[in-house]
Symmetry: C2
Subunit: 335 residues, 2 copies
DNA sequence: ATGACCGATGTAATCGTTTCCATGCGCGGC
DNA sequence: GCCGCGCATGGAAACGATTACATCGGTCAT
């Protein structure tokens, strides 16, 4: 593979000059620049980014660590992040944590070893040594969607609390009184926020939230199945289930089908995170939608601010309820 | 950030020795090795992969360019690829082509600029200059799922032809006679294979395939909507539609809903690529399933063979039909 | 006693860039 | 006619690792 020296030789100039035209610095005679450019294209020379980054100490690359690449919410986020980053002249390297702390930390370290300029992360549950160290070491870093308490890192997210309250009101209006929730991992910030909002909305409506109606999930499909199985082994199963992400809602549907239960006839279902398929499921699923793309765009904006030496603050957007038929019929959903 | 020199200084040895213990070369006294290791952890030193790769001319990184990150088939593939690669000591950098030739080539070049050791790609439609050059330049490369004619690059894929024939037989048995297909981009190899298999199966069953029943899509949702709109503007619309990927099937459903048409009552629907949601749609969708994970694993195996100097051959797996209710009821699907 | 050899370590070249500094040249002002 | 200046360019030192080769004691066979 041709290097800058080959280009220099062919153009009859020094490597310094080649570098100058490549990074279009001023002060190169037009004719020289042209000679270099032809040499570049004749050799189809491409600069070695490794060498370049080593020298300049910047990679123009952002790392993105997501919870689960099989979760449509995260892929939509990743798509938005990559688009925005590309527009700003950055590449993105995605790490999929598969909701596992160890795998997340593996990716964080790998990305740091590559000397990425900044890190965008939606941290998994638990205390991440790698992230804590990175934050302390001053790596430009922004949390998106999920976060870790006690770290001074800007956060871009959607506040789902009001939408959860709306959801509870919606379920209550439809006559449901035994509402259950499937949470994410214990220490998950988003899941806890959703649980707290759920709990306080139930209180507001004078409804109880027995321990048995709080199912411990992990944001992945299988846990939705498992928790649902538990719910329906209860002497008095819930009459509505709220899954705090879309993959667990899928698990719920799978298990209900296995149990021969119908939505919303036997039980209602709602999910956090709206995805295109929710419109076409049987029945269409009521969901809380986040402005996923804007989340991605804003997160990249914040991160590049940090990377380029500007300061960045947290951003909170809002989520909203999209009522469909999975919680029963009312005047809004019947059509 | 600490460098190898700092470690050397702290351990009271030369950088060469540090490097030796880091890459566990033999011939370092046990006590020296221990001293180095403590220095490493005290400084929490991590080798700079840029420098390392520059020197050794290998990155232990594979590039993966997929058609569309929003397509569950590709994310499942990406997941499998990353798993397998990690097991073999490689990282993966994903590039999302969004089904656009230009974006695909952008990613291919970016990956090559990063000096990845090998490239796994599911090429988009059309003549890719970047891929052609890479193949000619001898970059270790493997195609997965899709391919480009005329390039001598191993291919790992599933042959869908038999399954498509099965699908047509299934539709025919259910009484459908006006079968339509939504293809991918014109030059897409997989889409063409599916179209040809469809056409010859129709022939076998004595059914016509009028031009109006061949809808030109692009593997993305919007094209499914658009083509469906066209089908139902025809004087005699089809009674069954076969979408050659899952995203276009989603588009079909969206448009049918808009038109107030029901599946399978008004029209049947089947898709290539099975995804978990197809079980829960209204009605569940008949699909042709590929062994996606195995595709990913085998592709990585082939690519690492190439990278590590062994030879690699193409692999062809098979796909199979999963009949559900979206094509109407028969004894297999009723339960 | 001597030289060959071996094991443990250090020195320095190298990978492909960028960039600081030096150099050479032409030109205008005096 | 000389000085100084600016412009275009080149030389060489980094960046942080790996690794071929040199070095240096010490051991052992002769």
């Amino acid at each position: 593979m041709a290097g800058i020296k080959d280009v220099a030789k062919r153009a009859g100039v020094s490597v310094a000059t080649v570098s100058r035209v490549l990074n279009d610095h001023s002060g190169v005679r037009e004719e020289t620049r042209a000679r270099v450019l032809t040499a570049v294209s004749e050799l189809s020379y491409r600069p070695n980014t490794l060498a370049r980054s080593l020298r300049t100490d910047q990679t123009r690359t952002l790392g993105l660590v997501i919870g689960d690449v099989l979760n449509p919410f995260f892929t939509e986020l990743a798509r938005a992040v990559e688009d925005e980053a590309r527009g700003r002249g950055y590449s993105v390297i995605i790490g999929n944590a598969d909701e596992q702390l160890a795998l997340q930390d593996h990716h964080v370290r790998t990305l740091l070893d590559r000397r990425i300029d900044g890190l965008l992360v939606s941290p998994a549950d638990g205390d991440s040594v790698a992230l804590r160290e990175a934050a302390l070491a001053g790596i430009p870093m922004v949390f998106v969607d999920r976060w870790i308490e006690g770290l001074d890192v800007p956060l871009v997210r959607a506040d789902g609390r009001e939408a959860v309250r709306e959801l509870v009101a919606h379920l209550h209006a439809l006559g449901h009184r035994r509402l259950a929730i499937i949470t994410g991992p214990v220490a998950s910030t988003t899941s806890n926020e959703r649980l707290e909002a759920f709990r306080s909305a139930l209180e507001e409506f004078g409804l109880p939230l027995p321990g048995g109606y709080i199912g411990q999930g992990d944001f992945q499909t299988a846990s939705g199945r498992r928790v649902t199985e538990g719910f329906f082994a209860l002497p008095e199963p819930p009459d509505a289930v709220f899954a705090t992400d879309n993959l667990m809602a899928l698990g719920v549907m799978e298990q209900l089908r296995r149990l021969g239960l119908r939505v919303p006839h036997d039980v209602s279902l709602a999910a956090f995170d709206d995805i295109p398929w929710f419109l076409h499921t049987d029945p269409p699923i009521t969901a809380i939608a986040q402005p996923t793309q804007e989340l991605g765009h804003r997160a990249v904006a914040a991160l590049t601010d940090l990377v380029e030496g500007r300061s960045a603050g947290s951003v909170t957007l809002s989520a909203h309820l999209i009522a469909r038929r999975s919680c029963g019929e009312d005047e809004r959903t019947r059509r």
